[in-house]
């Protein structure tokens, strides 16, 4: 059965979006391959010509998803998105608007404004957001191609702390729901996928793992397992036992 992740009409086989931050450049290629990732996020910053270019380390055919990190309001996010497009990154943009340096929580209001401006300018906006139902509706109305609710603060590896609110978005918002930020372990990625998330975005959990390339593969497998479980439909939960073996035909003493 074909089971593709579709974002703005683009089809992806992988449901694992890999972040490229905090990596040794030499490990990115192997991490992307072992993750089976078809989308990778990048940041836009001042560059000099002497350090290695991250684009040289990303396998061919992987879709680049630049973020607007560093933006503190909608206008700055739009400017960063336009710079990313001018630097040859295509139209996908992960909108990130943050002006809290302690918890790095996104400003949903400014994010929705940026989403509207960028959608009108031909971008494919994927807003990183706090999982709030009304804000998610605003993002959709503003032209979001997917929403990226956070599981926990960026880089914290705390896991799926907003689980019940992400569940509401999965039920109510007719867009791909990509759980982004805070996922620390493959089991947490699997849990989000089991409840119907469309994809997982992870970075720090892999970049800070003991063996980065192995952890990329562990996440890949967990996300596949969670997706399959969601499609299969998980079994029911009972208060009491229900024998798995027949209760007839016991062997006589």
């Amino acid at each position: 059965m074909e089971d593709k992740l579709i974002i703005a009409g683009r089809e992806f086989n992988s449901r694992f979006i890999l972040g490229s931050g905090k990596f040794d450049l030499d490990l990115i290629n192997a991490a992307v391959k072992n993750a089976g990732a078809e989308i990778i996020t990048l940041a836009v910053r001042r560059v000099n010509s002497f350090t290695g270019n991250i684009l040289d380390h990303i396998p061919e055919g992987v879709t680049l998803l630049p973020n607007t990190s560093g933006a503190r309001n909608a206008e700055e996010a739009v400017k960063i998105a336009k710079l990313a497009r001018e630097a040859g990154c295509g139209d996908f943009i992960k909108i990130e608007v943050i002006h809290d340096s302690k918890y790095l929580l996104p400003d949903n209001y400014e994010t929705a404004k940026a989403c509207e401006m960028l959608a009108k300018d031909g971008f494919i906006p994927m807003p990183y957001m706090y999982p709030d139902l009304y804000a998610a509706r605003d993002m959709k109305n503003a032209g979001a191609a997917a929403v990226m609710p956070l599981a926990a603060p960026i880089g914290s590896n705390q896991g799926l702390s907003t689980k019940q609110f992400i569940r509401i978005l999965i039920e109510e918002i007719d867009l791909p729901i990509i759980v982004d930020a805070g996922i620390g372990k493959p089991s947490q990625a699997c849990e989000a996928m089991e409840m119907g998330a469309s994809a997982i975005m992870a970075n720090t959990a892999i970049a800070t793992a003991g063996n980065i390339v192995q952890m990329a593969e562990a996440f890949k497998n967990a996300i596949i397992a969670g997706r399959l479980a969601y499609l299969a439909g998980t079994g029911r939960v009972l208060d009491k036992a229900s024998a798995s073996s027949p209760l007839t035909g016991f062997i006589a003493d």
Binding site: L42, A43, V47, S49, N53, L55, A84, A87
Partner: protein, 63 residues
Amino acid sequence: MAKINGEDFNEVITIGEYLKKKGYTAARVAVMVNGEILSKNEYDCTKIQPDDEVEIVGFVGGG
């Protein structure tokens, strides 16, 4: 004195010449002069003026 990515610069050359001189690949960067984004076809006809604030940006690892 112009500033390029925060560093002083005082030659009168074009953006295109500057990128070439420094070894940048023009296709992989974006250039902003005084807050305005330049399109690639403007690089060779835009001279860096004294007092210009030039930003050259590109992609780095990020989540």
